[in-house]
């Protein structure tokens, strides 16, 4: 495993932790479809999730088994800790096949070989890339199996990060700082949006003086002008104008680990209302960050934010943060703990969150985010970037 980014022992610990959870849930096998979870267990890293692939874990086998397309087996050899007998490939006639062939046929065959075909099998039912067809095909191929929904089972084991994972998230934070700086520096009246994103993308991939950046799981988002209320529209040919608000949300990525960062800018002198809003958001996010410590629940952290904004007469009950780390397109969130009302997850050392509150008033919006680590002493904010409304003159 020449290019592994973690040593074999770390992968083995992860697999062992999953196998404990499988025992608790009386699962004989889990079919892992989420590319982040596949990477977490094996190290597998490639842009091959546009075809079906899987990692299969059984309780009595130390190594997971990777199943993928034949032309990706070399990628599995290059990036995983798995031995040759744990790498299985299906032939190319299974890909977008006009014949009665489907990659899940190969997955089912491995379960049969492992004597798990009649067992209780976990499926990531609501995971990206595990399609309805993949499911019905497994039902067809494994008529004796009992299926259970394990969509977030592995995601939850990812919540607390190891030292090595944190090292990559800190490296990603350095890249985020560089990319945010590049973006803010490029904004200017008359410049088209795409030129600013070109600078951001260049910085995201160029990384730092000592290491490069990976592709982030979400493209840089930069709603501006009338569009700051449409958070997921991507850039256009529009040229910036004086009077435009601009929100930049981006993330550096290192070995698939993210450290997202958002800031807001304004071309020209910002209206008073926007300045006031920015002050409230900055006070609120820091109140929430200050509330972070092991033993506190997610909803208690949200309450600290809400206390601040309520004092300013703002009523809003949103998710303000989510667990973050390893990811593949289309998302860098882990889909587990959220800092929102009703989430009673207890914070523990080693958890990492992206906190991204925002307030929109009178059509002006301000967003500012931080990615932080829960430590014994409270939150450790990973990026070092000024918390302010940036005025571009």
């Amino acid at each position: 495993m020449p290019e592994n980014v973690f040593d074999e022992a770390e992968y083995q610990r992860r697999t062992a932790r999953l196998e404990e959870r499988m025992a608790e849930n009386e699962l004989d096998a889990v079919i892992v479809s989420n590319p982040s979870n596949m990477n977490y267990l094996t190290g597998y890293d490639g842009w091959s999730f546009y075809v079906h692939q899987a990692v299969i874990v059984t309780r009595d086998r130390e190594e997971p088994i990777w199943v993928g397309r034949s032309q990706d087996a070399n990628g599995a050899r290059a990036t995983t800790w798995l031995s040759e007998e744990s790498i299985r490939a299906y032939s190319d006639d299974h890909v977008h096949s006009p014949y009665d062939l489907h990659p899940m046929d190969a997955v089912a065959a491995v379960l049969e070989e492992l004597d798990a075909a009649n067992g209780r099998i976990g499926l990531e039912m609501d995971s990206y890339y595990f399609t309805a067809k993949a499911y019905t095909r497994l039902q067809h191929n494994l008529p004796e199996a009992e299926f259970a929904d394990t969509t977030l089972l592995i995601n939850w084991t990812r919540a607390k990060k190891s030292e090595r994972e944190l090292e990559y998230m800190r490296q990603a934070a350095r890249i985020s700082e560089n990319a945010m700086r590049a973006g803010l520096d490029a904004i200017e009246a008359g410049v088209p949006e795409y030129e600013v994103v070109a600078e951001i993308y260049d910085a995201l991939v160029r990384g730092t003086d000592t290491y490069g950046g990976d592709y982030p799981s979400i493209v840089p988002l930069m709603p501006s002008g009338d569009h700051t209320g449409t958070p997921h529209l991507t850039w256009s040919d529009r040229r910036f104008e004086n009077g435009d608000p601009v929100i930049i949300e981006l993330s550096g990525c290192r070995n698939r680990y993210h450290s997202p960062l958002a800031r807001t800018a304004f071309l020209g002198d910002p209206p008073e209302k926007l300045v006031e809003t920015s002050d409230i958001v900055i006070e609120g996010i820091n109140a929430a960050i200050d509330r972070v410590e092991p033993g506190v629940t997610c909803e208690e952290v949200e309450a600290a934010w809400r206390d601040v904004i309520t004092d300013y007469g703002i009523e809003k009950e949103d998710r303000i943060a989510y667990s973050v780390g390893l990811g593949y397109p289309p998302d860098w969130g882990e889909h587990t703990a959220s800092i929102r009302p009703g989430d009673e997850t207890v914070l523990e050392e080693g958890m990492t969150f992206h906190m991204i509150p925002g307030i929109w008033q009178d059509d002006v919006g301000f967003e500012l985010s931080e990615t932080f680590l829960v430590t014994a002493d409270g939150a450790d904010v990973l990026a070092d970037f000024p918390q302010q409304l940036f005025s571009v003159q």
Copy 2:
């Protein structure tokens, strides 16, 4: 619809064409999950496919209905031709919900409102982002419905491109040329891979002097050194060395339309075997391109390629091309017609393909691709980029 990239009549023609297909297949409704198909029918364009969303088409309603997350409804207003009553949003507690809520509940509610809940409903069973859970939730919510698999129904209606679509693909081809040039210019012994990809990404987004580029559906792929046989590994911190082969596959993107392009380079004087291989591939791809004309089948085009390589003693029966155009991550392929043995699809004017043959011999590989349009006179290759093995000194 201030930012629509096609006029309303074009979207209406597309919807009408789908409704004809629905009639032929006795479908009362189709639930569209594939982001490319959602865009094709409505214009919707946003990085929101990391949550569930859908477009619903029924045979007796002229406008499709968009269903998505509340915070994305403004994006639907900004990018689609739909009227306000055709834009439906679900509340944020449906997103990665710890409650018993799922976005498909909102989709099912629309089908009930449209009196289609007891009908025959098409689902894109093997489409990206239509998960197993989305399917079982619809089964639960719509117990009287009869479901049919319409995974490629809309994709097939996308095969023949309109003049406007071709305009965007030609614009994308200009971007591909610029990005390929930027990549080849940046490769040098001692330079890390990520720096070359940073240049490529910058060029992909910066576009041309008159318009910018969108994010491509696949990141630039650049296997090099020992890794030219692992096509889907992404870049690393490795520095290029003399003697490295490098394959670059990328695509410019304009309003979500792609025009992919691949070329091979070698640092230093290429080995004789690689030069020979490049000559064979270039002769073969041009033989296949010359065979293209309306009325010819996909497999006949592949045969023209195979005739050439067989003359050189090479046995290989691969897919060498696939239908291409509109796309979202993780893929720019349309998953319909393939130029491979056994595919009897008849070529028609307006179809577009990415042809990407490659040959590996003695551990050296050469790949060269073109995106082309089928015209009355044969293939029109969209990019203008030298067909050769690039030697980087």
